[in-house]
């Protein structure tokens, strides 16, 4: 545990050095840039209560989705699409609810989240079925489903879901009564945070302490040993994990819709589903670690925006830092695997 923390800190330091070098290379003074970044991420109550955590929430939920799938040995690259259909389903529920006013707000909110969960699960279910029935590589099928989800959203926000004036390609704005409750007065911090924390703790506990969570980990660790030594029904465990993963990504979309964007539009997700892979990996696929990694990514992105605003550094520089983090984690793992092999026996 301590070793993982130390290692992650070292990786962060290396990523930070990468950032400094990149800043120097592009002619930006690192000092002011980094201090703008730090204050944008942590330096104010707005940063601490809104900018950083609000950015972290969708990454945490989608990161959990990726972590669960990868733990079961499923390469679900489809969190992006599952998140999009989840958000879309929530927007559909919202449209129906706004068309018939008078429904209890809480009921509608729960229905939106449930619809997102279900839609994400079903969307992943397509890939799960294709894998189980036809042996289709889930890497390819989930990428296809991401692209299809993207076109689906594009169609809906110009068609059935488009706002009444039909000027902008987006859904009508969610009425305030149906927003996810704000946790701290005056901030943008919404109840999705509690959901993310709750689900992360639940997922952590489930994987660790229940028989079904253990089966999932065993299948991911060595499917043939799980089948042979544990007589585990591997296809069933895989399907269950895939659906769960999709459901988590779906709820991430529903939460982002009802807590942040309040509308559905084409570029609803700036690649949350792909950044979620980075988050999950940095967290070593540990659900609690996902919370921390998502917060780190949220802070990086909040800080990057402040850096652009206050120091004129392009905010996309943060993607380089995130990519460097993934590559460093991968390199460290491969290095450990290699040295581990050579020291054994």
């Amino acid at each position: 545990m301590i070793r993982v923390v130390v290692q992650t800190l070292v990786l962060l330091a290396v990523a930070l050095v990468t950032l400094v070098l990149l800043l120097l290379a592009t002619g930006h003074a690192p000092g002011p840039a980094l201090s703008a970044m730090a204050s944008g991420a942590f330096g104010s109550s707005y940063a601490l209560l809104s900018a950083t955590p609000v950015r972290a929430i969708p990454l945490a939920l989608a990161g959990l989705a990726v972590a669960i799938a990868f733990r079961a040995g499923i390469l679900n690259v489809g969190a992006e699409g599952q998140l999009l259909v989840g958000a879309t389903a929530a927007a559909c529920v919202a449209a129906l609810a706004m068309a018939s006013p008078g429904l209890p707000a809480l009921l509608v909110i729960v229905a939106m989240l449930a619809a997102g969960t279900l839609a994400g699960g079903l969307w992943a279910g397509i890939a799960a079925w294709l894998r189980a029935r036809f042996g289709v590589l889930e890497v390819i099928s989930t990428i296809m489903l991401n692209l299809i989800a993207h076109e689906l959203v594009g169609y809906l926000v110009r068609g059935p879901l488009q706002e009444p004036t039909r000027t902008n390609p987006q859904s009508s704005t969610l009425v305030e009564a149906l927003h996810l409750p704000v946790l701290v007065e005056g901030s943008r911090l919404h109840a999705g945070l509690l959901l993310a924390i709750g689900l992360a703790v639940l997922a952590w506990w489930w994987l660790r302490n229940t028989a079904s969570g253990f089966r999932l980990r065993a299948v991911g660790g060595n499917a043939s040993a799980a089948a042979s030594a544990g007589r585990v029904n591997v296809p069933r465990v895989v399907a269950g994990a895939f659906l769960t993963s999709g459901a988590l990504a779906g709820v991430a979309g529903a939460v982002q819709y009802s807590g942040v964007t309040f509308a559905m539009y084409e570029n609803f997700s700036p690649g949350y589903g792909y950044k979620a892979i980075a988050v999950a990996l940095l967290a070593r696929l540990n659900p609690l670690g996902v919370l921390v990694a998502a917060l780190l990514f949220g802070a990086l992105e909040a800080g990057a925006n402040a850096m652009e605003r206050d120091a004129g550094v392009p905010n996309v520089v943060v993607s380089v830092v995130e990519a460097a983090l993934i590559l460093l984690v991968v390199a460290a793992d491969r290095w450990r695997a290699r040295t581990g092999n050579s020291t054994r026996e």
Binding site: T26, L137, I148, H150, Y155, S319, V330
Partner: protein, 310 residues
């Protein structure tokens, strides 16, 4: 009548135009996947190629722009190869990182050099070159043979890669590596060198695709201008059943789907849900994946990390 003809020509011309960068990237990905490496970092190689082309074309000239685009693609692919081929890291995770890295790098460099979303930068472009004779064919001539030269490169590369893949021993070795690396090793073919070559080639092709977007189409660099083409290329390779000529046909289909928008607009059909047409090729891809015969399946060792069986 002549309206319909014009529309047909326009539609075909647009389809080929949209298809050209897709075909470049997909042909590269096809070679890479045939060697067992699935590169979802292609998106990153395309955007790197686009920026490389922009810079070099502005500074030196259009021809250098294409070369620089290809080189930029090779550079980012080299990083991918280092991780996946030599360190045997997971291809999907590395590809994700590469895409993220390329988006960040190009965005940072572009904005730092040319200003934050600043003055629209315009580069020289290559115009269409009519192929004497062929371009006079009604309907097809104007659409297929009055295109930028890169399009003709695509026409040439399809058959050329097919020939190389199926009519040379090196191509045989490439396919063996993607199917069963141990068999390749036993026959004296090095999977690592083969895969490295394939990944770098795919990088060069993706870089060319990015250069095409800038130098033959947009005339400028826009962040995120690759807009998912790297992922679409993966779909095209599947729909093209991992065969270069199939990949060409599938590229044209995807290009056609993308150009429907223009057709609908010129016809004044604003209500047609063209996004649904855009989704059709992906659905076809999924169907191909599910129901393809054994011959059209993915290379058996695609995405495999280890080169040896237990």
């Amino acid at each position: 009548m002549s309206d319909a003809l014009t529309l047909g020509t326009d539609f075909l011309e647009a389809s080929v135009r949209f298809a050209t960068p897709l075909a470049l990237a997909s042909l590269g990905e096809c070679v890479s996947e045939r060697a067992g490496v699935i590169n979802i970092g292609l998106e990153g190689a395309i955007i790197c190629g686009a920026l490389g082309a922009t810079v070099a074309a502005g500074a030196v000239g259009v021809g250098f722009g294409f070369a620089a685009g290809a080189l930029a693609g090779v550079a980012i692919a080299a990083l991918f190869a280092l991780f996946t081929v030599w360190m045997r890291a997971d291809q999907i995770i590395t590809g994700t990182a590469i895409t993220l890295l390329a988006a960040g790098l190009t965005g940072t460099l572009y904005r730092s050099t040319f200003g934050v979303s600043g003055v629209a930068l315009s580069t020289p472009t290559i115009g269409a070159t009519a192929v004497p004779g062929l371009s006079a064919i009604p309907l097809l001539g104007a659409s297929l043979f009055e295109q930028p030269v890169v399009t003709y490169l695509v026409y040439a590369l399809g058959p050329l890669i097919t020939w190389w893949m199926f009519r040379t021993h090196a191509g045989l070795g490439l396919r063996a590596v993607g199917e069963r690396p141990q068999a390749a090793i036993a026959a004296g073919v090095s999977p690592r060198l083969t895969q490295t070559f394939a990944v770098l080639f795919a990088g060069a092709m993706a870089g060319l695709a990015g250069a095409t977007l800038v130098l033959a189409q947009a005339g400028t660099f826009v962040e995120e201008m690759s807009s998912g083409r790297g992922f679409i290329a993966i779909a095209i390779v599947v729909l093209g059943r991992w065969h270069p000529m199939g990949v060409l046909a599938a590229s044209l289909l995807f290009g056609a789907a993308q150009s429907l928008d223009t057709v609908f607009q010129s016809m004044g059909w604003r209500e047609v849900p063209y996004q649904l047409f855009l989704a059709i090729p992906y659905l076809m891809t999924l169907l191909v994946l599910a129901f393809a015969s054994a011959r059209a399946r993915a290379p058996a060792a695609l995405g495999q990390r280890e080169l040896t069986e237990k």
